[in-house]
C-alpha cells in the first residue's frame, strides 16, 4: 500500500467574494496577486512536503494548473526539482504533467530525467491532458488535445529508451536531433501513474499501457464502473488487473475534535471548491472531448464521466447562470454540497476515529493500492494543516496499512501492474466490492 500526501497548494490570500464574483477560480484577475503572500505560500508548501516525509508518508504528490489561485503549482517540475534535492527518501509523484498544453515533450523528457537523477530514482511521473481552462491559458488547440497527449507520451518514452541521436517527424512534434544526454536514473524510465476524472478513453489508454489509474475523488459508483471497464480492457490485453492498477485520491481533513474538523473542513468548498475550478465556457473548450463523450453528455447530462456537473452542461447551452451578488445564498448552497459530499464519501472530515471506518470502506470498495490524502483548501493556517497531516499519518495510516494487508492491497512496487496473466475464457477476478454501496444508498 502506498500512502501519499497531496495538496493543491492553494493561494491563501484571496477574498472569497472575488472568486464568487468571478463564478470560478480561473480568470480571477492577477491584479489581486500579493507577492509576499505567494512567496510565503510557496516556501511553506515545500516545508510541508518535507514534513510529510518526516511523518512517514510513502510519497508526496504534486500537480499543476495554470492561471488559477486554486493551485499555486503552475510549473510543477520546479517544485519537484527542489523536493528532489531537499527530501531524502519519499517518492515524488507527479499527477501529472499536462503534455498537450506544454507542447514540448523533448524538454519534458529532459526535465524529468534531471528530477529523477537528483532524487536518485524517486520520481513517479504521471501525465494529464490539462483541464479545459488550460487549453485557453496555454493557447493549446483543444481539438488536438488527445492526439498530442498520445504522441507526446510515446515520444518521451522513446527519448528515454532509444539510443540517440535520431530524428523525429511526427504529426504534432518535430525534432531534428533527439539525444538527451541526461536519462532517468530508473531503468528503463520512472513508473507512470495516470490521474483522471473517469474519462473512459483515458482508462482504456491506461489499461493498454498497464499504467495504474488514479481516480481524483470521483463518485464511488461511477468509479467502480470505470475500474470494471479498465479490468475488462486489461483482460483484452492479456492480464488480470488488481489493486496495483488502481489509486484513489480523497480530500481529507482531520482535527482533534469533530466540531473543529467540520468547521475548518468547510474550506474544501471555499469559493465553490473544485466545482468552481473554472466556468462552463472554460471547462468545455471545443473539441476537447471526444465525439462519443459529447454525445453521452448531450443525451445524459446527469452523468459524471467527464467530471462535468449537469449544471455546467446546462450553462454551456443556455448561456450561464444569472448574475447574483447574494453570496450568502451561494455559501448556503455550497455548505449543503459539503454535507452531501461527506455522506457520499467523497470528502473525509472528522477525527481519526470517525474517519477510519469511512476510509476503510473506500479501501474495501475500490481496492486501490495507492491512496492519496488531499489536504484542505482555502485560507487555512499552517498549524491546522499540519495537525491534520499528523493525525492522518500517526493515527489513521497505521490502521489503514493493517487493513490493506488484510484485504491484500498489493501496490505497484510489490507487483508490477499488468504482470498477472489473464487466461482467455476464464471469468476475470473482481476489482471492486460493491457490497457496502447498498448501505450507503449508492447501489445501482
Amino acid at each position: 500500500m502506498q500512502i501519499s500526501y497531496f495538496t493543491e497548494r492553494p493561494y491563501r490570500g484571496l477574498n472569497e467574494d472575488e472568486i464568487l464574483k468571478n463564478k470560478a477560480y480561473f480568470a480571477v484577475s492577477n491584479a489581486l496577486f500579493d507577492r509576499e503572500q505567494a512567496a510565503n505560500d510557496y516556501n511553506y508548501y515545500l516545508d510541508e512536503y518535507c514534513y510529510a516525509e518526516e511523518l512517514g508518508f510513502d510519497a508526496v504528490a504534486l500537480n499543476e494548473h495554470h492561471g488559477n489561485p486554486f493551485c499555486m503549482g503552475s510549473v510543477m517540475n520546479v517544485e519537484a526539482s527542489i523536493l528532489a534535492r531537499i527530501t531524502k527518501k519519499v517518492r515524488i509523484v507527479l499527477i501529472g504533467n499536462p503534455l498537450p498544453v506544454l507542447k514540448h515533450p523533448l524538454r519534458m523528457a529532459e526535465e524529468l530525467a534531471e528530477i529523477d537523477l537528483i532524487s536518485r530514482g524517486r520520481l513517479v511521473t504521471g501525465w494529464v491532458r490539462g483541464a479545459g481552462s488550460e487549453q485557453f491559458f496555454n493557447n493549446a488547440n483543444p481539438a488536438y488535445n488527445r492526439e498530442m497527449f498520445n504522441e507526446a507520451h510515446d515520444f518521451i518514452v522513446q527519448a528515454w529508451t532509444k539510443p540517440g541521436p535520431w530524428r523525429y517527424e511526427g504529426k504534432h512534434f518535430h525534432y531534428r536531433h533527439v539525444n538527451p544526454w541526461a536519462l532517468p536514473y530508473q531503468k528503463p524510465h520512472p513508473p507512470m501513474w495516470i490521474p483522471g476524472v473517469l474519462s473512459p478513453e483515458t482508462a482504456r489508454w491506461c489499461a493498454e499501457h498497464r499504467y495504474p489509474y488514479l481516480g481524483l475523488g470521483t463518485a464511488l459508483g461511477p468509479t467502480c464502473d470505470l475500474w470494471d471497464f479498465y479490468a475488462d480492457e486489461a483482460a483484452k490485453h492479456g492480464y488480470q488487473a488488481g489493486p496495483e492498477n488502481f489509486g484513489y485520491l480523497i480530500p481529507t481533513f482531520l482535527a482533534e475534535t469533530e466540531e473543529k474538523a467540520q468547521e475548518i473542513g468547510k474550506n474544501f468548498v471555499f469559493g465553490g471548491g473544485q466545482n468552481a475550478f473554472s466556468r462552463p465556457e472554460h471547462t468545455l473548450p471545443p473539441g476537447y472531448n471526444s465525439k462519443g463523450a459529447i454525445r453521452m453528455l448531450a443525451k445524459h447530462p446527469g452523468g459524471s464521466w467527464l467530471g462535468v456537473s449537469p449544471e455546467k452542461l446546462r450553462a454551456h447551452s443556455d448561456g450561464g447562470r444569472p448574475d447574483t451578488t447574494d453570496f450568502d445564498t451561494v455559501r448556503q448552497k455550497l455548505l449543503k454540497g459539503y454535507g452531501k459530499a461527506q455522506k457520499n464519501l467523497q470528502l473525509l472530515i472528522g477525527t481519526p476515529e470517525s474517519v477510519l471506518p469511512k476510509a476503510k470502506t473506500l479501501l474495501r470498495v475500490l481496492r486501490p493500492s495507492i491512496f492519496v490524502f488531499f489536504n484542505i483548501q482555502g485560507p487555512v493556517g499552517d498549524e491546522d494543516r499540519k495537525t491534520s497531516m499528523r493525525l492522518i499519518a500517526q493515527e489513521l495510516t497505521p490502521q489503514l496499512r493493517e487493513y490493506a494487508k488484510e484485504i491484500d492491497l498489493v501496490d505497484p512496487f510489490e507487483r508490477t501492474p499488468g504482470s498477472v496473466a489473464y487466461r482467455n475464457g476464464v471469468t476475470r477476478d473482481p476489482v471492486v466490492d460493491r457490497e457496502p454501496l447498498a448501505a450507503l444508498g449508492m447501489a445501482g
Partner: protein, 261 residues
C-alpha cells in the same frame, strides 16, 4: 418555399454533403463557423433566379471530417477541387464569416474561380484595428446572441430559439470543434493571405458588413478592401453579424444588384 434537397456527392475524394435548391445560374454558398442553419428566407428569395450549391463543411456532422484538413487553406483547396469537378467555375459565391475566409483562400489560389465574390462579415484577415471576437471561450448560447444586434428578430428565434435539443448541441459542438481544429492559431486568420490576395486582379468583389457586427470588426473589411483590387464594401444599418437574418430584404436587394452587375 423553393424546392431544396440534400445530396451526397463523391467529390474531390471526399464524401461531401451538399444542399441544392433553386434554379438559374449556380450560386455557391459557404456557411459560417456555426454550420448551415437551414434554408432561410433569403435563400428562398434568391432561389427564383439562382441555383444554390451549399457544401456542408467536413467535420460539421453531415460531411465526415477529413484528417488531412488542418487549415482553412487546406479546406479551400478541397472546395476548389469540388467546384472544378462539378464544372461550376467561374461561379458566383456568397460566403459568411469563416466561410468568407474559405472563399478568400480559394480566390487567392485561383483568381479566376469566382465570377462574383460576396463576402459577408468575413474572417480570414487580421483586422487593421481591433480583433476578431473569440468564439471559443464562450458558451454556445453566448456566441449565438453575439451574432445579432437584436435576438428578438423573428427568423433568429425560429432558427436558434427554444431549448437546445441534444442533436443541436452535438451539431454545434461538432462545428466548434472543427473550427477550433483549423482556426485556433493564428485565430481565424492567415497572415499570408493578404499578400496572396494582392495577386487577385479584376475580381468582382463585394464586402457586406452589419453596422452592429460584434464578431468581425470594421478593420477586417478595411484589410480586405486594401488587399483585393477594386473590392467594394457596403454596410447595413442596425444589424449585427447576420444581416441575412436581421434584414433579409435589404440583404437580398444588395446581393441581387451585385450579382446582376
Amino acid at each position: 418555399m423553393a424546392n431544396w434537397t440534400e445530396q451526397k456527392a463523391h467529390i474531390a475524394e471526399a464524401e461531401l454533403t451538399l444542399i441544392k435548391g433553386g434554379s438559374g445560374k449556380p450560386l455557391l454558398m459557404l456557411h459560417d463557423e456555426l454550420g448551415f442553419p437551414g434554408w432561410m428566407k433569403w435563400n428562398d428569395e434568391l432561389a427564383a433566379e439562382h441555383a444554390f450549391v451549399i457544401p456542408l463543411q467536413p467535420g460539421f456532422g453531415k460531411t465526415p471530417r477529413l484528417e488531412w484538413i488542418r487549415s482553412f487553406r487546406d479546406l479551400a483547396g478541397l472546395y476548389s477541387m469540388a467546384v472544378r469537378e462539378m464544372g461550376l467555375d467561374p461561379v458566383d459565391v456568397v460566403a459568411f464569416s469563416a466561410g468568407g475566409f474559405i472563399a478568400a483562400e480559394m480566390v487567392a489560389a485561383d483568381p479566376k474561380i469566382f465570377d462574383h465574390l460576396i463576402l459577408v462579415g468575413p474572417m480570414g484577415l487580421k483586422p487593421e484595428k481591433g480583433e476578431i471576437w473569440d468564439i471559443f471561450p464562450v458558451t454556445i448560447r453566448t456566441h449565438l446572441r453575439a451574432t445579432v444586434a437584436d435576438p428578438g428578430t423573428t427568423e433568429f428565434g425560429e432558427i436558434y430559439g427554444g431549448e437546445m435539443t441534444p442533436e443541436q448541441f452535438e451539431a454545434f459542438e461538432d462545428a466548434r470543434a472543427e473550427s477550433a481544429r483549423i482556426g485556433w492559431e493564428p485565430y481565424m486568420h492567415n497572415p499570408s493571405l493578404p499578400y496572396l490576395l494582392r495577386g487577385v486582379k479584376n475580381a468582382s468583389t463585394l464586402l457586406i458588413r452589419g453596422a452592429e457586427d460584434r464578431i468581425v470588426p470594421p478593420g477586417c473589411i478595411a484589410a480586405y478592401t486594401k488587399a483585393i483590387d477594386g473590392a467594394k464594401s457596403v454596410e447595413i444599418a442596425n444589424v449585427g453579424h447576420r444581416p441575412e437574418i436581421e434584414n433579409a430584404a435589404e440583404f437580398v436587394k444588395i446581393v441581387q444588384e451585385f450579382l446582376a452587375s
